[in-house]
Symmetry: C2
Subunit: 232 residues, 2 copies
Amino acid sequence: MGANTSTALGVSGEAAEIVVAEDPGVVDLFAVLAYGEISAFYRLAEEAKLSPTLRGKVAVAKMAAAEMGHFKTLEGALADRGVDVFDAMAPFVRALDAYHASTDPSTWLESMVKFYVGDGIAADFYTEIAGALTPEIAEIVRDVLEETSHSEFVVEEVRNAVAQNRADRDRLTLWGRRLLGEAITQAQYVMAQRDELTDLVLTATGDLNGIAMLFERMQNSHAERMAVLGLG
Amino acid sequence: MGANTSTALGVSGEAAEIVVAEDPGVVDLFAVLAYGEISAFYRLAEEAKLSPTLRGKVAVAKMAAAEMGHFKTLEGALADRGVDVFDAMAPFVRALDAYHASTDPSTWLESMVKFYVGDGIAADFYTEIAGALTPEIAEIVRDVLEETSHSEFVVEEVRNAVAQNRADRDRLTLWGRRLLGEAITQAQYVMAQRDELTDLVLTATGDLNGIAMLFERMQNSHAERMAVLGLG
């Protein structure tokens, strides 16, 4: 991580402190996002096999391709800082792989809910962090989190299915709760391992209480997303 | 295929006749290319699992994402002609799936040779056809065949591996021959099924003798590509 001749801000008791571009937490943030894109790519490609139609497979392939566009943005942003994306991603492989292994969908509907809800949880978390970053960094984070129009496809498929089937609706509601729980477990695991990232999150949220409030806001957004899908 | 109020040129004894934009063979050509991109996407994503490194997985994911960019170009070109890409692709699903099923790689090296050699064979074929198309159509075909820089990655991996291992070299040489044979078998199958596409190919190549010469040129290019990989 050659370019990090940085001034880590450390834990701050005050919210909304601007994180400088050279904070080593920024490299961690880009790296965890980058590995998130790669693992989402392969998960989407794998789970698309569950799609009963070619139309579904193509919609998912487009989502996967969009993830790779985001990966390239992050790879470039890390390269601009003299950091190799593969070195930077290494510390995050285990937690993200664990998240996907523990939430392996067994049906096409579970997989669709995971696309929508999982991406939403990640986007909430990183968008909050982006609020504390310098505009240049925040723009990169927002770019790679940009929601694709393909999620419309997911909403329609899931809503139609659960409107017709009460058992599916109950099962997918539980599935959605499990996704949130696993995501928070793994986020906490990552933060426990990576001091630089934890410092960045603390700077962004103010303090430990700020983190707790962030998780509460994430739970509320999650409930809203579940309602959009006709679940919960 | 609503927009095809066309003037099919039919079989022509003369080479280099320009195929008009409304030829129903053009819709078939875009459609077979489009399904080729989709099946390449899923094959790449699947075979990337064989990669021993994350670097290899990411290189392959980028190739796969490029295929989806090409798919969108073709989907748009078909939509401009009032044709739904899924309807248009349907006749080609069987032949392309059969090609991939009959050339399922069992190692990472076989899979790399297939990326490089299989894409090359397809590009040779379609580039020749593009020569007989109106500039607007030819440009779309060339755009979607554009070689990505990622194939450099393949060349390096395969050359290094076979330089060190004679048994690998012999095995991959046979594998390369099989890929060419299967591709030609499936191309002939498709043409036997689709009169419009056969007419377009005949118009592009002049006559049956022109098709034979086209396959001969494809064999020569194939031999050159194998040599680039250190094979044959």
